[in-house]
Amino acid sequence: MGPSDLEYAVTLDALPTDLQPFAKELPFHLGLTAHPEGGWEDYSALAPFQRLPAYAAERSGPALAPEFQARYLRAHHRGGFFGLLIDRLEDGQVPVRPEWPRLRQALFDQWLQSLTEATGNEALATQALHAAIEDWIDAVATERALRTRRRLSVAQYARLVSQKVSWLGTSAFCLLLAHGDPARLPVFRRAFDLLLLSSQCLDDALDADEDTRLHGIGFPEALGHPPRGLLRTAPGVARLGATLAREGGFHELGTWLAERARTLDESQSGKSSLQAEMSALALVAAVTQLYGGPAVTNP
């Protein structure tokens, strides 16, 4: 059992008793795992997604005390439980159940409470959750509009990805604001955005056919690029994220992103094409312009 699942056991205990039997199998009900006994770890396999506050806590001075790190990690996990719930409900991927409204409210309350405890500041926690939810609402509206408009620029895509799951970064962002150097937050968020974008390029490339079947259009088509081009964009975006993270002093995140880029390149070796590489060159260049970076070319 990983840290997300251990935290969820605590979360479960704090839920209303009558909700607990249903909530115990929440990852399964949300379609995140194929088995009723499956956990959150089955879904969130990438290390930064599991413990993002630890990456944000890296600093040159004295380390953040372990008890503070643990509080932020708790808030991070609880934000994840809530965020995945609202995302799956919105996406229509789960059947309607009478338990959803109360469970959603309970998980939101737990997220807010844990972030308030971590930051020691209710105003910050409230504002941060508000910003994350506003982002998510904007992203949902953009996705709906896309199904009609059928076109998406790279800038719109990057923004959509950043907004749709900004709740995943909320606790780490708050760590920098309340117990770190707030001036380092913008660069951390950019590196985190690029981690998200790299992952989403991969997912959207692999899910293109399914998205077309379910929604009438996939992201590669909306961007005017082939799925394989988006696939080849993923390592370039991760590499850009690594550069930004290291420049901002987030070396552990930078190292992870660089390794991710290398792994993605290796896994796609011999499976590309001129069209895919030219597509990725253009897409990575646009993302580089968007987020700032040294060059449009790969090293």
């Binding site: 609402i137 707030p182 069209q275 030219m278 449009v296 070319t297």
Partner: protein
């Protein structure tokens, strides 16, 4: 639905003391809100009208937007036969003559108004023909892609390996 949930939550349970420092609020706004951070992300791309066009000397800097246009011209072309011709020319230049020859082919392509639909006379610095300027390493990277034999197995286009112009179809001919 969640809007209502959130409003209800803030109305009934949460008191907001606004105890952040000025710096925290400013950084929070920049990092989490739709203001300055959104401006960072609000960069146009994808249409030729957004290109600044040539500079006062008639030089067009090939940046992210122009790379996006180049991709669309070659791989989502209006004139497929001419796109095919350019890919052939790029391949030949990269294999036989090197980076400068690739630059020359791209120079012709960027000035092929009938193919691209772009007239450089319509920009703030109007020129009938532009010369191209590339960031260091970019041209070499394009040339390396074009001549890389490992990238040819899905060519000419990802939809299939059938050449739509009457060219030899064997892979050894590097048909684009």
């Amino acid at each position: 639905m969640f809007n209502r949930l959130y409003v209800a939550q803030t109305d009934t349970h949460i008191t907001v003391p606004f105890s952040l420092t000025k710096e925290q609020w400013e950084d929070l706004a920049e990092a989490l809100s739709n203001n300055s951070y959104a401006l960072l992300r609000d960069i146009k791309d994808g249409v030729a009208e957004d290109s600044p066009g040539p500079d006062a000397s008639g030089v067009l800097k090939v940046g992210p937007l122009e790379l996006g246009l180049l991709y669309q011209w070659l791989f989502n072309p209006v004139d497929e036969a001419q796109a095919h011709n350019y890919l052939h020319a790029l391949k030949k230049a990269a294999k036989e003559s090197g980076v400068e020859a690739v630059k020359a082919v791209l120079g012709v392509l960027f000035n092929d108004r009938r193919f691209t639909g772009v007239c450089w006379m319509n920009y703030p610095n109007p020129f009938p023909i532009v010369s191209l300027s590339f960031e260091e390493g970019l041209l070499a990277q394009i040339a390396s892609f074009v001549r890389d034999p490992t990238l040819s197995y899905l060519e000419p286009y990802e939809g299939g390996a059938v050449c739509f112009v009457d060219q030899p179809h064997e892979k050894d001919n590097m048909c684009y």
